[in-house]
């Protein structure tokens, strides 16, 4: 610690000391976009000599104030001369990315560029997109800065084929979470929701993001468990110059913010920081194998035990506040001159830091959840309801995110450490009328009014340590990374209190609205991925080639537990009113007559709803990038992954003492596979601006810990139950396996100036054993789902992408842009016999059931489009963006129970950003969200029947305004 402090002092001393100026930039190969290491950067009259680019292609050159010409030279490249470089005392002049052109017998002269004109363009990424043999896309820090996006998620939306759901999670090419993947600095990192593959991206301020790259085809150096796309966020390690900003933004959605009807409940004093302060803690005695219940414990003990639970059971209405977000970020790099080497090489230190706080209110004043069934009679088309639930739901979400990165590099070595912590708390309160119809199959019929109180606390702590060494003499780069993460997610004290309303009486009825219940859920997960990669440059067929090989390992461990307590009444009930907050008044608690409230445990010992799982993925790969000729580039690779997943858990039978038929696993292997993942990516340049691409790869999607378990997780609001895959049914073996996917992609693309491009792609994916959520038909009373393998799937897709400037119409419109992409997908599952027969038996008159259907989670189309205007001088941007996905099968119904589809959500947003204030130092951002005021809707669909609501809520339209002050 002391060393760090003294280091900081030392650095401050360093940064204030010189009265010279500094010139910084990055040198790249203009053809490939790759950084050039060791290029000479020469300034003949700067007064401080020359320097060379480091392993990131960066250089930093000190100079007396003045105007200079700087030459960049490297063997086999044409020398680049940058003129009119202005240097000011004590300031940093950024010259951006400098692309060197390879030598050419016809052109040996040097290239001259005026520094001012070399706007910080996107050479690296654009060239990467054009020249990489793999299909990649992305957005660079330069482009983000130009557009003015505030967080990584806003920036990611601008990448082709990316859609963002819930403002947080990404979907690529319309393929859902199961087939998309997000990595941070190239490493697997669990999301705040550990059951999702993608991390929450709205916590990364863009001034700390170096770039966001989306790979749509697999190469062997990437993890094999993605199919739609892999999105990687690379954070900055060495900001070009001192950056610092404070931002503040606020948003207003009329239905949600400042709404006096907002639903909340009395929580803890630290809720605003995303922590529960103990208000919702499970009382200590509740963990005992036998909790205090009447007869076996004294009245006083039972009474004390009941009183040890929080008595709040009802939601209350209170005006919500505005959404707001404040953020601080800073970063810098220094030259550590005391460590200057004999060669003149100066080591560099860099840091990045960000801290953000967000508070959001969500309020839905008309939420509907429905459960519908078909009639057995094939001449009846309409569905009938089993349960319809309607009400209001309020959510208050707070998020604190902190990132601290430190890095050190010399010209050929680099080491960095990035520590990140996210702390999130979500408090939810809902009130619903529940109408259950006795005529429906398996239902007993009741009316109830429920109060639901929930809290979810999540945190994620990640440390990335990364080292890179370059050996120019052998053309080798060695990179190693280790990135341990601890994730915690707890749902302390989920309370559901539903009075059943009969004609003549109102009370708690187990067989109807149910007795009041409380649930605690705990999840802990540790991930430790490690990788070691070597890249070696060599020459093949007279062209530059690269060999990359590496190995690594990712270990994951999770512990999960659910504890349930039901309220019981020792004898009859008699409630003077139906206020849930009075249920736990002292006069109602055991032994006080008549209601005599006590708790009964829903937890077996051992607990069937507790499990521990771990998995280990060991990988090794080799791939090579080479040019067959001047026009053809290829990446050929092979990756091997050995995956083992182990599980400790038990089913209900075993937990209740049936050791004969019950199942119990003790760190038993539940998945074990050794897979080879070949990849072939070829690019053929038709000419300077047009490419043809082809790729053929094999990838995988593995079931999650939750899916491979005996867990039965109820959503207390909807009463819908998730079941782990280990439970066997007539139609399901209980053996869930990974999905193996063969991918083929072809693409034609044409690049034009100013970032314009047009492309047409086609793709095919073949899925072996795709996993889908299937309704459990045997369970008719409650709505239960289970992940199952569902036969074979195939997918054909066509994608068109167009980024155009309106300059073609008139040069005066050069700052108006259109970008759009459309993906159309035909996905098909060949049903299992059981599914086919079950659908056949519920065929309506006039319907012909065939044995194929669309894949669950796959949208038939994705459409993104936007118009934007950019005024670079004033850094003003205006944009209108539209996004929609087609109707997507969400839950596979069986027989009696129809399929559930997610309906299209038409998202239309507008944004305006500009610089205001003195010296234009303040960014102003205005946004308007969901201008079409669309609803989020899922429906049951049945032949010839009107669609019926599975779930519906209205996010409403909203406005937001934000200011960012640069420091």
């Amino acid at each position: 610690m002391r060393a760090i402090i003294s280091l900081c002092f030392f650095l401050f001393a360093l940064s204030t000391f010189a009265q010279v100026g500094t010139v910084r930039g990055t040198v790249l190969d203009a053809e490939t976009g790759e950084t050039i290491i060791g290029a000479a950067v020469i300034c003949n009259n700067c007064g401080s000599g020359n320097t060379a680019t480091d392993l990131d292609g960066h250089f930093s050159l000190n100079a007396q104030p003045g105007t200079y010409a700087i030459e960049v030279a490297y063997f086999t490249y044409r020398t680049l001369k940058l003129i009119e470089v202005k240097v000011t005392a004590g300031e940093i002049t950024l010259v951006g990315e400098l692309g060197l052109l390879p030598e050419d017998n016809l052109k040996l002269d040097e290239v001259t560029i005026i520094a001012e004109v070399n706007r910080n363009s996107e050479i690296a990424l654009l060239t990467l997109k054009r020249k990489s043999a793999a299909m990649v896309d992305g957005i660079s820090s330069a482009r983000i800065a130009q557009i003015g996006d505030g967080t990584a998620v806003e920036a990611a939306k601008r990448v082709t084929g990316v859609t963002v759901e819930g403002g947080k999670y990404v979907y690529i090419r319309g393929l859902g979470d199961r087939y998309s993947k997000t990595t941070l600095n190239g490493m697997d990192i669990p999301g705040l929701d550990p059951d999702k593959n993608t991390i929450q991206m709205d916590i990364f301020p863009t001034d700390l993001v170096n770039n966001i790259v989306v790979s749509k085809t697999f190469t062997a150096d990437q993890p094999a468990d993605f199919t739609g796309g892999l999105l990687n966020i690379e954070t900055k390690a060495f900001p070009d110059k001192k950056v610092g900003s404070i931002s503040f933004s606020s948003s207003f959605t009329p239905t949600m913010n400042l709404n006096p009807a907002f639903l909340r409940y009395e929580g803890g004093s630290l809720d605003f920081l995303g922590f529960d302060d103990g208000t919702r803690r499970l009382p200590a005695l509740a963990r005992q194998s036998s909790i205090p219940t009447p007869i076996f414990f004294s009245d006083a003990e039972v009474n004390r035990f009941v009183q040890s639970f929080n008595p709040t059971l009802g939601a209350t209405r209170q005006r919500s506040f505005l959404d707001m977000k404040v953020g601080y970020s800073a970063g810098n790099q220094w030259e550590w001159k005391n460590r200057t080497k004999a060669s003149g090489e100066v080591p560099k230190l860099g840091y990045v830091f960000s801290l953000s706080y967000k508070s959001n209110y969500t309020y839905y004043d008309d939420v509907t959840y429905g459960e519908y069934q078909r009639y057995l009679d094939p001449s009846v088309y309409e569905m009938r309801y089993a349960t319809v639930q309607q009400g209001q739901l309020g959510e208050h979400n707070t998020l604190i995110g902190g990132v601290l990165g430190l890095a050190y590099k010399t010209n050929l070595k680099k080491v960095r450490a990035t520590l990140m912590h996210l702390q999130n708390g979500e408090s939810r309160a809902g009130q619903f009328w529940i109408d259950n119809d006795a005529s429906a199959v398996g239902q007993s019929g009741y009316k109830a009014f429920s109060n639901n109180l929930e809290y979810n606390q999540r945190s994620l702590t990640n440390l990335l340590i990364n080292g890179t060494v370059v050996k120019p003499e052998t053309g080798t780069e060695i990179d190693w990374r280790i990135s341990p993460t601890l994730s915690l997610s707890t749902d302390p004290d989920i309370r559901k209190t539903a009075f059943t309303y009969q004609t003549l009486d109102t009370f708690f009825q187990a067989g109807a609205g149910g007795n009041p219940s409380r649930i605690w859920r705990y999840l802990q997960e540790v991930n430790v991925p490690f990788r070691y990669d070597v890249t070696k440059k060599f020459t093949l067929f007279d062209e530059a080639a690269k060999l990359k090989y590496g190995a690594g390992d990712a270990f994951k461990w999770r512990h999960y537990e659910i504890l349930l307590f039901d309220m019981q009444f020792f004898g009859q009930q008699n409630w003077s009113n139906d206020d849930p907050n009075q249920v736990l008044n002292p006069e109602n608690i055991y032994p006080n007559y008549p209601n005599r409230v006590y708790y009964q445990s829903g937890n077996n010992d051992p607990n069937p709803n507790e499990y521990a799982s771990n998995s280990n993925t060991a990988h090794a790969y080799v791939h090579t990038e080479f040019s067959l000729n001047l026009r053809t580039k290829a990446i050929v690779g092979l990756r091997v992954e050995h995956f083992v997943q182990r599980h400790t858990g038990r089913d209900q039978s075993w937990a209740s003492g049936d050791y004969t038929n019950g199942k119990n696993l003790t760190n038993d292997v539940v998945l074990n596979s050794l897979d080879l993942f070949p990849s072939l990516n070829v690019m053929y340049s038709l000419n300077e601006s047009q490419n043809l691409r082809f790729s053929a790869t094999r990838t995988i999607a593995r079931p999650s810990f939750k899916e491979l378990s005996f867990a039965q997780i109820i959503d207390p609001i909807t009463n819908r139950i998730f079941n782990g895959s280990f439970f066997e049914y007539a139609a399901w073996s209980g053996n869930l396996v990974e999905t193996r996917i063969n991918n083929v992609d072809i693409r034609w693309e044409k690049f034009m100036d100013a970032g314009q491009m047009f492309s047409i792609s086609g793709f095919y994916k073949g899925f072996r054993n795709p996993i889908e959520m299937v309704r459990i038909a045997e369970q008719q009373t409650s709505t239960e789902f289970q992940p199952r393998n569902v036969g074979q799937g195939t997918m054909f897709g066509a994608e068109m992408e167009w980024n155009a400037s309106f300059s073609a119409l008139s040069p005066s419109l050069e700052n108006f842009f259109f970008n759009g992409n459309i993906t159309v997908i035909d996905s098909r599952i060949t049903m299992s016999d059981v599914e086919y027969q079950s659908r056949k038996s519920y065929e309506r008159d006039g319907q012909t059931v065939i044995n194929t259907r669309a894949m669950a989670g796959q949208s038939p189309y994705v459409l993104n489009g936007g118009f934007s205007y950019t005024h670079p001088e004033s850094k003003t941007n205006f944009g209108v963006y539209y996004n929609v996905k087609g109707s997507t099968l969400q839950i596979v119904g069986l027989g009696l129970f129809p399929d559930v589809y997610t309906q299209p959500f038409q998202s239309l947003n507008m944004s305006f950003t500009t610089k205001v204030g003195k010296e234009k130092g303040i960014d102003l951002k205005l946004r308007a969200m969901n201008l079409l005021n669309d609803n989020v809707l899922s429906v049951y669909k049945s032949f010839g029947a009107q669609d019926q609501i599975f779930s519906r809520y209205a996010p409403g339209w909203g406005l937001s305004a934000g200011l960012t002050f640069s420091l």
């Binding site: 004294s298 009969q502 349930l564 209740s656 109820i714 009463n719």
Partner: protein, 391 residues
């Protein structure tokens, strides 16, 4: 009488409370307690000198017979949800539980201090629990191979999963093609304080009869204070005789999926839900059942039943000779026009019958009167009779 019982129970509980902090078994000097924690896969007999404590959801599996001696007490451990205890007689298994009026077989909770000695003395009341205490354990579930009218994934099906048992337990399947199926003999059995909650709308009945065939004998059964229905029948052809359903938390007697048998001679006292909940077939198989010769008490000082007789438009049932008392305004017979529902000699102890029929209607089979229809003399062995509730 009832008030006295309640008072004595409170006093007793107080006494117990002073003595015991950790969970304790009742005094055990004169009988043994045996904890049953795994399924029965070979024939067994349970004897009256032992209290059998159900440690979980205990299944008597296919091909196995459980014999229970007259006077035996079975107590379920406490629990809710997955932790609920129950005795499940799977398809192909048999329960031979033959009690007598002087030595009934009692299923209750471990919180109940009733002992074999007390039962032998002829006192069948709980010494410490009110007859209103529900949900302390699960219940008794008998599953058979009789025909049911159900529908699920495969359309019209002949087997489905019984309510209250997770679908992950295949022992919970019932139904078949053998209406003469024999699941054993149940005589003189009192089932008390059960009905543990599995989830909203999903809990265990006092006695659940799924697809039980006519070869089975079920007579002289009392259900007291079950949190869900007293008895629920799904299809099958079983005939049921001499039933008491007292203080249950939901329906007094509930039928589904085309039961083809007869309920003869019953007393239903103050269920919280419907006195009768009679649903129609769910599949294409349709057969009618008969419910006859019974008394219903629809309210007391503390409890008012939701309504009197509740049928669906497609229900198939013949209701004959039923007398209903203690009817309060708002309680009705919910449907008069269902073609498959026949009313004959239904007598309501009210002044104006039409006030208690759907939409103020009339029906020739439903009249006002004061004549009881049940033969209550056969119920003298029940707790309800010993407590003076049944005269």
């Amino acid at each position: 009488m009832y008030k006295f019982t309640a008072l004595s129970a409170v006093i007793l509980m107080g006494l117990v409370a002073c003595e015991s902090t950790p969970p304790v078994d009742p005094p055990s000097s004169d009988y043994m307690t045996k904890i049953v924690s795994s399924n029965l896969t070979s024939n067994q007999t349970w004897y009256a000198d032992t209290i059998y404590q159900l440690g979980g959801r205990i299944t008597v599996t296919n091909g196995t017979t459980l014999t229970i001696e007259a006077g035996t007490i079975i107590k379920g451990e406490a629990g809710t949800g997955a932790n609920a205890t129950a005795l499940l007689i799977a398809r192909g298994a048999k329960l031979m539980a033959i009690g007598t009026p002087s030595l009934p077989i009692i299923f209750t909770t471990i919180a109940d201090e009733i002992s074999p000695i007390q039962v032998a003395s002829g006192d069948f009341k709980s010494p410490n629990l009110d007859p209103t205490v529900t949900g302390l354990w699960g219940g008794v579930i008998i599953l058979g191979k009789g025909i049911i009218s159900a529908s699920n994934a495969s359309g019209d099906v002949n087997e489905v999963q019984i309510e209250g048992i997770p679908t992950s337990d295949p022992n919970g399947l019932y139904g078949g093609t053998d209406n003469a199926d024999n699941s054993g003999v149940l005589q003189y059995i009192s089932i008390r304080h059960g009905g543990a909650n599995i989830g909203a709308g999903n809990e265990i009945n006092g006695l659940s009869l799924g697809g039980v065939g006519s070869g089975t004998t079920i007579e002289n059964i009392e259900i007291v204070s079950n949190q869900d229905d007293g008895i629920e029948v799904w299809g099958g052809m079983i005939n049921i005789t001499n039933i008491v359903s007292w203080n249950v938390g939901d329906d007094g007697f509930d039928t589904d999926q085309a039961w083809g048998g007869t309920l003869d001679n019953f007393v239903i006292i103050t269920p919280k839900g419907h006195c009768f909940e009679l649903d129609g077939p769910e599949g294409t198989y349709a057969v009618s059942h008969t419910i006859k010769n019974g008394n219903i008490q629809a309210s007391d000082d503390n409890v008012t039943s939701e309504d009197l007789i509740n049928t669906d438009a497609n229900s198939l049932v013949s209701l004959e000779s039923i007398y209903i008392t203690d009817i309060l305004p708002g309680q009705i017979i919910n449907r008069l026009d269902a073609p498959g529902v026949l009313y004959a000699d239904i007598v309501l102890n009210v002044d104006t019958v039409s006030n208690f029929l759907k939409n103020g209607g009339t029906h020739p089979g439903i009249t006002a009167g004061t004549t009881p229809k049940a033969n209550t003399s056969v119920f003298s062995w029940t707790w309800a009779a010993q407590a003076g509730i049944i005269q």
